[in-house]
Subunit: 193 residues, 2 copies
DNA sequence: TATAAAAATGGTCACATGACCAAAAATGAG
DNA sequence: CTCATTTTTGGTCATGTGACCATTTTTATA
């Protein structure tokens, strides 16, 4: 970008990002194009190009916005909730289908793009802090290394479960029981052996 | 495809798939093109097109081959191994970096393509059976529902951990300790409460 | 060896895409 | 109102891509 914008421009940018996000979710990275975004909004190609240098810049902006939002979501949660509430929250709310798909694209990108990788690393570092703090509030006696491993396992579990959402004929397990199992697992890890 | 091929053709197809796989891993879905594959091999575009109708067919074939290989890998493992050995195996061997990237692309694709989704669902159904059988061999008293939840959790964990591989500044946790924690978690889930 | 199938060559074509440019219109601060 | 800035229009262009076709060479088999 690197372009001065007024209030109208900011609104335009949001509009463009909304449309681009829709397309990304519907058609994936391969289906995202400047022209496609412009067409969807009834704008000229060069109009979109005025705000975003190219498809890469667009993609980057989408991910930036999305990650920022996600971080806000969990960092503004009440600090005093327990593990069970966190599990329920993460498995229910945060992973909306479309957000989920965006993350798939982002993971795929991060595997080969250093910049995306760095962005993702920063995001998950904060995510990890959040998870650790929740676990720590319920198990204050847990050692830092234990907390860390526990957070890694929980995050991996959350991400993994979100992958399996949407897989047809998937996992017909009871969410309630699953939640309980996860809580059990955390206890097993974090209570001193 | 739908093309009769001799032995030479089969070799060509493998060659093409190898190159396509490389490109996919290096450049992602967006970077995969028939021409790119042809160029990498020093073939004509139309030569590649002789074997694969278009980029989609190519992609599908890559994933087919890859999933078939992955299934073979774990289904030919000795049946009598325990959970710990499985965890160590999955976390070490199966998830080679490049294979990992391919799966990222595949997940992203499956999120919006029904056919890919179905393929993935079939793959993970078999994967799940494998995991269940391993857990069952160590905990014969476990109920089917418990086994299932346990398998889902383990698979999610494996996939999730593979996501975090490669994330810069990631998870500096001891693999040894992590493995232990996972085994602990399984026990907690599967031993009757 | 004859010959049909398979493998490979060589090329054209239409199409979508993004880079790039020039200019007009709308907007808002002074 | 004025005028610089922001926003928007309208267009060209080179490029990369896959679809498509006709043809030749190689291969295997009867």
């Amino acid at each position: 970008m690197a372009r001065r914008t007024g209030a109208k421009g900011q609104r335009r940018i949001e509009e463009i990002l909304d449309a681009a996000e829709e397309i990304l979710v519907e058609a994936g990275y391969g289906g995202l194009s400047m022209r496609g975004v412009a067409d969807r909004l009834g704008l000229r190609l060069s109009h979109v190009q005025y705000y975003f240098d190219g498809p890469d810049a667009l993609l980057e902006a989408i991910f930036d916005r999305s990650l920022t939002r996600s971080i806000e979501v969990f960092e503004t949660r009440p600090k005093r909730e327990g593990i069970e509430a966190m599990v329920a929250f993460v498995l229910e709310d945060q992973l909306s289908a479309s957000n989920c798909r965006m993350f798939f694209e982002l993971w795929a990108l991060a595997a080969r793009d250093d910049k995306a990788n760095a962005v993702l690393a920063r995001y998950y570092a904060r995510y990890q802090s959040y998870v650790e703090s929740i676990v720590a509030s319920e198990y204050p006696q847990a050692k830092p290394a234990q907390l860390k491993r526990c957070a890694v396992i929980l995050m991996s579990l959350f991400e993994g479960l979100s992958l399996f959402r949407g897989v047809e004929g998937r996992i017909a397990v009871s969410r309630r029981e699953l939640d309980k199992d996860i809580v059990k697992a955390v206890r097993a890890i974090v209570e001193q052996s």
